[in-house]
């Protein structure tokens, strides 16, 4: 790779080291993907096929999301990647550095600052704003697949709005567990028309998709499907009248920042069954701690949380 030398190389580590087109994909491909995105935006929740390209990473690592990001990324956009809510897991780091290299864009971990946020499992806790784009990496785009193995049949079911089978799945949950136990990839009805899979998102994040000011794009690389939720679209989680949709709740606050309203990950702390619950959204958690430290310092009430504790906990989580 380093054999190709150009004048810009070395001047900035953010510049592409080889002569890739901006954001890796060629312009024709990006144009084709943008057309699919436009169609997806026009038909909220509808899965639009697209000619997915081979990416320099295996399927399952976010190839769908990367192609969508590459197609919507502009030179001045600020890019953020999260994986399980965290900015510094291997997958998040490698995708972030990929775009830093092939597009030379500025990257960030700050949700507020980001223009494009590519994600695998979470929607940030901080409310999104207009102008932002969420890009979701989707492993299995078809919500009906669990009930119906035939692709031709699922397309017909979508076309004719025959979504009874989706409720059969929820019925089975209640029959088996006494409640709707599906906690990830919980199906939603978009704009009152298409039933959509929110990828491996925890159902905790489902309400954030509803009337969201940001544009939400979903890319499935292996299955070559793109779908979208335009800003301010109604997104309803499916449920029963007598078993309404509800999000997960925790009995304790985040062990680091004390948040009681965020999505918590369970962290095993030792071999003796010790465990703690901490925010899955690291940016959110760090910001809260920073705020608390400031106020704690100003109140002179002593140590609250040190950044050392923070980083060690989040380090452990990465394993």
């Amino acid at each position: 790779m380093t054999t190709t030398v150009n004048s810009a190389d070395g001047a900035s580590s953010n510049q592409p080291s080889v002569a890739y087109n901006f954001a890796y994909l060629d312009e024709q491909t990006k144009r084709m993907i943008r057309r699919s995105i436009l169609k997806a935006v026009a038909l909220p929740g509808y899965q639009v096929p697209f000619g997915g390209r081979e990416m320099p990473m295996p399927y399952g690592w976010g190839t769908g999301g990367i192609q969508v990001s590459a197609s919507v990324l502009g030179k001045h956009d600020v890019f953020k990647v999260i994986d399980q809510g965290s900015d510094d897991t291997t997958n998040a780091v490698s995708i972030r550095s990929f775009f830093a290299r092939v597009a030379g864009v500025r990257t960030t971990t700050d949700t507020e600052e980001a223009d494009i946020i590519q994600t695998r499992h979470r929607i940030p806790e901080q409310p999104l704003r207009e102008g932002q784009i969420m890009v979701y990496q989707v492993p299995i785009p078809e919500p009906l697949r669990w009930m119906e193995p035939s692709e031709a049949e699922t397309r017909t079911l979508h076309a004719l709005e025959e979504y009874g089978v989706m409720h059969v799945k929820l019925y089975e949950d209640i029959a088996r567990h006494g409640e709707i136990a599906t906690s990830f990839d919980y199906p939603v009805l978009v704009n009152g028309r298409y039933v959509m899979s929110p990828s491996p998102l925890p159902k905790f994040d489902n309400p954030k998709m509803n009337q969201c000011p940001a544009l939400q794009l979903f890319g499935a690389g292996r299955e070559k499907r793109i779908y979208a939720i335009p800003p301010y679209t109604t997104v309803k989680s499916l449920d029963f009248e007598d078993h309404p949709f509800a999000v997960q709740q925790w009995n304790e606050p985040c062990a680091i920042c004390g948040a009681t309203d965020s999505y918590l990950d369970e962290i095993i702390t030792d071999d003796a069954g010790g465990r703690m619950f901490v925010c899955s959204d690291t940016d959110h958690c760090f910001k809260r701690v920073a705020g608390q430290s400031l106020s704690a310092a100003s109140d002179e009430e002593g140590e609250f949380f040190t950044t050392e504790v923070d980083s060690s906990v989040h380090e452990r989580r990465k394993k």
């Binding site: 009930m147 017909t156 004719l160 025959e162 009874g164 089978v165 409720h167 059969v168 019925y171 089975e172 209640i174 029959a175 088996r176 449920d239 029963f240 009248e241 007598d242 078993h243």
Partner: protein
């Protein structure tokens, strides 16, 4: 009075609804090979029509044509829906055809696994049609499912078991419940007792007979078992090599068969 006039006059019995299904000149070819040829009949509300004949006689082809599973080479099938509108089954849009199929029709397959979701509990199997028709109350769906399990004589505590844990006879009864739960008007049955032991057959037959009578269902029943045909069907069509060779009142066809083929069928299958 001429006999013809009399029979014509009695054809449309006073105060009765018009025919549910009107079949005219129905033919189907699989390429060069004949599936069935020039079949015509009317099916009336509450009537059970048996289609009998040996395997390969075109019974199943006819049943699949009637249920709109594939289009015939020629001929028409008209269905009168619950609102009294008459539809040409083969010029229906896919959406309307499927709506009719899951609300007003039922299809009981010979092999229960063709008609059941084997990975879904019995309750979910029965509830599916309700949910497809818009039911969104878990408690109501479940109590309806329990009611239907009782009607098909399956113990209530089996409601959360998957059909894979059921015997063949129970699977078949579950399939029937799954079909009847939405109150269909017309049910197609393809050898519903075909794969079952004789003792289990008797129970299923009796159950079918009760349900069909109690609900006033119209049924098109394909069977090669003449005893089943006699017990369930009001009227029979005898098929051979894709054509109808004889038709009429069930007991008349079976006790006084006219066509050589029917006589052969009756004398060789029906003992005592």
């Amino acid at each position: 009075m001429m006999p013809d006039e009399i029979s014509r006059r009695t054809e449309a019995l006073p105060g009765e609804e018009p025919a549910l299904l009107q079949v005219e000149g129905l033919s189907h070819y699989y390429g060069e090979r004949l599936g069935c040829r020039d079949i015509s009949f009317d099916l009336w509300p509450g009537e059970v029509l048996g289609i009998v004949g040996e395997s390969g006689s075109g019974k199943s082809t006819l049943l699949n044509l009637l249920a709109g599973r594939f289009p015939p080479s020629s001929g028409t099938i008209r269905y009168r829906d619950a609102e009294g509108l008459t539809h040409d089954i083969n010029s229906l849009s896919e959406a309307v055809r499927r709506r009719i199929l899951r609300t007003e029709w039922g299809f009981v397959h010979q092999h229960p696994r063709d008609g059941l979701r084997m990975r879904v509990s019995a309750g979910g199997n029965i509830g599916e049609r309700l949910m497809a028709c818009g039911s969104r109350h878990y408690g109501n769906i479940r109590s309806t499912a329990l009611d239907w399990l009782e009607r098909v004589e399956i113990a209530a505590d089996r409601i959360d078991d998957r059909p894979t844990a059921y015997s063949g006879g129970m699977q078949q009864r579950l399939q029937i419940a799954r079909n009847l739960v939405s109150g269909p008007r017309l049910v197609f049955m393809d050898e519903p007792t075909g794969g079952l032991d004789v003792s289990v057959q008797a129970k299923l037959l009796d159950l079918l007979r009760q349900l069909v009578r109690g609900l006033g269902l119209s049924v098109v029943l394909v069977t090669h078992d003449l005893a089943v045909a006699r017990l369930l069907a009001h009227r029979l069509i005898v098929m051979r090599r894709g054509e109808v060779v004889e038709s009429g009142l069930s007991d008349q066809v079976l006790d006084d068969p006219h066509h050589p083929y029917t006589q052969l069928l009756v004398s060789s299958i029906l003992q005592g």
